[in-house]
């Protein structure tokens, strides 16, 4: 341990200017966040990019101070203990990469008024994630001492980092954490193996193959994990299948009002109303994904995957029933061929039952007020007083969150909720902000209170249904009519 500290001190001396820059960038991230109106619309992307580049450079420099590859390095003929050397490098990352971000997070949490105790899991988990994400950088940096090669590797690592940290708000975002977590775990396992091999016995050729394999596996899992498998895993993890035993799904009637949807020519937009009956009391069904198979009378079929049915909106609400409208984009050749003819529709609806609602009425002002589940909610008088903003530390909770303004209907902050059980995402800015608008119900200028309703996911379910004699032209998109404003996510 003494040798590790000795090397650590040397590395600090060697990289003191770079360290100063990285710490300044971390401070700039915090300052940029805090300068904004409660952080909304004020993502510190520029200092984050500089911080990221600075960290990548710092790690490269740190590793190359005792480069693993090559046969001319000074240190390899000196009595270094590989465990001490590796420990020194990892300690350096903890102190000069993690610690500044930890302090920045603490400053943001304290100044924004988030309850510190309930934020501790997120705070610690974000540090674990940050450290784990540094490992691939360290591992890649050990694979070559040639600077251009290092830059390529770091750029690849940066790409993976950006891909895996980007906010996922698609219809499959609820289960995207599964593929992200598996890919991340594969990448980290690869990095740990490489670090062990490189620092213990400098097996660079094997390590390079290992790195290529690890990156390929991670990329494959991230990009090609079948979403039905992800939903099946999520459903298995929730383990509450029995809760939805009373639910019945069927194709509903043609909707009278269709919400706004961008046309994706030359695809044909089909609006499928789905009737959900028998929802258990105290719960509500929220759609996650829909997969449709259409079969013509002559046996020709077309598949509409979840990616083709990206707009799922829950319509009417009652105690035990809901109507979900799905907009799917179909192949025009199939549509034109089957125009006016009956087809058989087979579909699988993936949905989540939410329940155990908690609500809290808080004053609606520009000053954020604490709401359930660690949320803080406020409005922005300058922009639109009927908009409600809520923000959460480290990640948006895996909950359905509504805002009720006076007598207006509840507005969901987003239907896209990540079901990840982890308390934090990997972000330098620890605050995630979303908004809900009461615009559709008309502005309530006199309302000064808002009720925040939070429901937790109870079960992730899949129901298959079939309808025969379906005429597609009845469900085709007739014309653009503006419905409720689309939901949005702000980071």
């Amino acid at each position: 341990m003494r040798q590790a500290l000795h090397i650590f001190k040397k590395d600090f001396r060697y990289s003191r200017y770079e360290i100063t820059l990285v710490v300044l960038f971390a401070m700039a991230c915090a300052a940029t966040h805090l300068r904004g109106p409660h952080g909304a619309f004020n993502e510190p992307w520029l200092p984050e990019i500089f911080w990221f580049i600075g960290v990548a450079f710092l790690i490269g420099r740190l590793v190359l101070a005792e480069a693993i590859t090559g046969d001319r390095q000074f240190w390899i003929t000196r009595p270094y203990r590989w465990k001490c050397l590796l420990a020194a490098k990892l300690l350096f990352i903890v102190v000069f990469v993690n610690l500044p971000v930890l302090l920045a997070h603490l400053a943001i949490l304290l100044i924004d008024g988030f309850p510190l105790v309930s934020s501790i899991p997120g705070l610690l988990w974000s540090q674990v994630l940050l450290f784990a994400f540094s490992l691939p950088f360290v591992a890649f940096a050990t694979l070559s001492s040639v600077k251009p090669f290092q830059l390529i590797l770091l750029a690849c690592a940066a790409g993976v980092w950006l891909l895996m940290t980007s906010t996922n708000v698609g219809p499959l975002s609820g289960v995207a954490w599964l593929s992200g977590s598996i890919a991340f775990a594969a990448l980290c396992a690869t990095a740990v193996s490489i670090l062990f091999l490189q620092y213990k016995s400098r097996r660079t050729v094997f390590s390079r193959w290992l790195a290529a394999g690890g990156v390929a596996v991670s990329a494959f899992v991230l990009g090609a994990m079948p979403w039905p498998l992800a939903f099946a895993l999520q459903s298995h993890l929730s383990g509450q299948d029995a809760l939805g035993s009373s639910i019945q799904i069927a194709l509903g009637h043609t909707p009278e009002e269709r919400f706004w949807q961008i046309q994706m020519k030359p695809k044909v937009a089909l609006h499928f109303p789905i009737s959900v009956q028998g929802v258990p009391g105290g719960t509500e069904a929220q759609p996650d994904a829909l997969a449709v198979s259409l079969q013509s009378s002559d046996g020709r079929t077309t598949q509409l995957e979840a990616q083709d049915c990206q707009s799922l909106k829950r319509g009417s609400l009652s105690a035990s029933a809901a109507t979900i409208t799905a907009v799917c984009f179909a192949d025009p050749s199939f549509f034109n061929a089957q125009h006016g003819r009956p087809v058989t529709l087979r579909a699988s609806l993936y949905f989540t039952l939410f329940g155990n609602a908690q609500s809290q009425t808080i004053p609606l002002s520009e000053e954020p007020s604490n709401a359930p589940d660690g949320l803080q909610c406020y409005t922005d008088m300058v922009r639109a007083e009927w908009d409600v903003y809520c923000r959460a530390a480290f990640r948006w909770p895996a909950r359905l969150v509504y805002a009720k303004l006076g007598r207006t209907n509840a507005n969901s902050f987003t239907q896209f909720v990540s079901y990840s059980p982890f308390p934090a995402n990997l972000n330098i800015d620890p605050v995630e902000t979303r908004w809900a608008s009461a615009y559709a119900s008309g502005p309530p200028p006199t309302v000064r209170d808002v009720t925040i309703v939070v429901e937790e996911p109870l079960a992730h379910l899949r129901r298959d249904f079939e309808a025969q004699g379906v005429r597609l032209d009845e469900f085709a998109y007739p014309s653009v009519r503006v419905g409720p404003a689309p939901i949005d996510v702000i980071r």
Partner: protein
């Protein structure tokens, strides 16, 4: 004397091209072993294998009784390494480098380090990147001698250095020669001739011979034989195998005796030539010995 370094049947191939081809080498403890040979003979590869910088394709080497592939911090704390091919931490000052290395070596002798700095006239406050090549070799040597290693391995340490720096380094080396075994490689025999106690000659990946310097220089003689004219040179009879580079001229025969013994050599000469007018045997410089051997081998090949 036990062996501090030994290599048995070492083979090293780079992309199927053999650089070492069954090398066998032993370095006795307490010796100053000069590993000589032409460029590309495999000297640096041998040293890198001994230092666990490279792994042999096959064969086995031991350094300080440890398998070279398992050479760890404990052994490295007793080995000094100086090489013209080594990248030093150029951002460090001389003073910081010595201070940085000190905790790695339990036997670090601060007084000796200071003395070496003075002896080599090293500027303590200067970064290594601002030092001349000779100065860098000096700091490399000083930082390797300060902990009184049992073994000091030097790979072409004098290559391209001016004579003054070379003398400084040799002086520094000689001070440690009593307590430290030195293995030094060089393609320039003149560099190591003056202080090596043992010499090994490496060529085409094989050690052609390895011997104590005194024994080597004692057994090699350039012999001149003056015979009655016209000389009767028995060209149809085979010359003794230990006579190399035979040359003949009217009334003169010249050759290199590789196993010189005054009485036996004289007897061999008389047996071949009969009565001769005079025999003179001249000691040979190391360079001349190696040239003779190299030519003989290339001729044999």
């Amino acid at each position: 004397m036990s062996d501090i370094v030994s290599a048995i049947d070492l083979v090293k191939r780079f992309r199927d091209a053999p650089v070492l081809d069954g090398l066998n080498l032993t370095v006795p403890e307490g010796s100053v072993f000069g590993l000589a040979g032409p460029n590309g003979a495999g000297k640096t590869t041998t040293i890198k294998i001994l230092m666990n910088i490279l792994r042999p394709s096959s064969g086995h080497a031991e350094v300080l009784g440890v398998d070279s592939r398992a050479l760890g911090p404990e052994a490295l704390a007793n080995i000094g390494y100086v090489s013209e091919n080594q990248d030093l931490p150029e951002w460090m000052t001389v003073e910081y480098m010595l201070a940085y290395l000190k905790p790695f070596y339990p036997a670090w002798d601060e007084e000796r380090a200071r003395r070496l700095v003075r002896q080599f006239d090293l500027p303590l406050d200067r970064q290594l990147r601002h030092l001349s090549r000779g100065m860098r070799m000096k700091i490399a040597l000083a930082s390797s001698l300060a902990y009184r290693p049992r073994l000091l391995i030097m790979d072409e340490p004098f290559s391209g250095l001016d004579p003054l720096v070379r003398e400084d380094l040799i002086d520094g080396l000689l001070e440690s020669a009593g307590e430290t075994t030195i293995l030094i490689s060089s393609h320039d025999l003149g560099e190591i001739e003056s202080f090596a106690s043992h010499i090994g000659y490496l060529d085409r990946g094989r050690l052609q011979f390895s011997e104590e310097m005194t024994s080597l220089t004692a057994r090699f003689r350039e012999v001149e034989v003056v015979v009655d004219s016209p000389p009767l040179v028995p060209l149809d009879r085979p010359w003794p195998a230990h006579w190399l580079r035979p040359e003949t001229a009217p009334a003169l025969v010249r050759f290199v005796e590789t196993h010189f013994d005054p009485e036996r050599t004289a007897a061999d000469i008389r047996q071949l030539f009969g009565d001769v007018r005079s025999i003179s045997a001249h000691p040979m410089p190391l360079r001349a010995i190696f040239v003779t051997l190299a030519r003989a081998r290339s001729k044999a090949a």
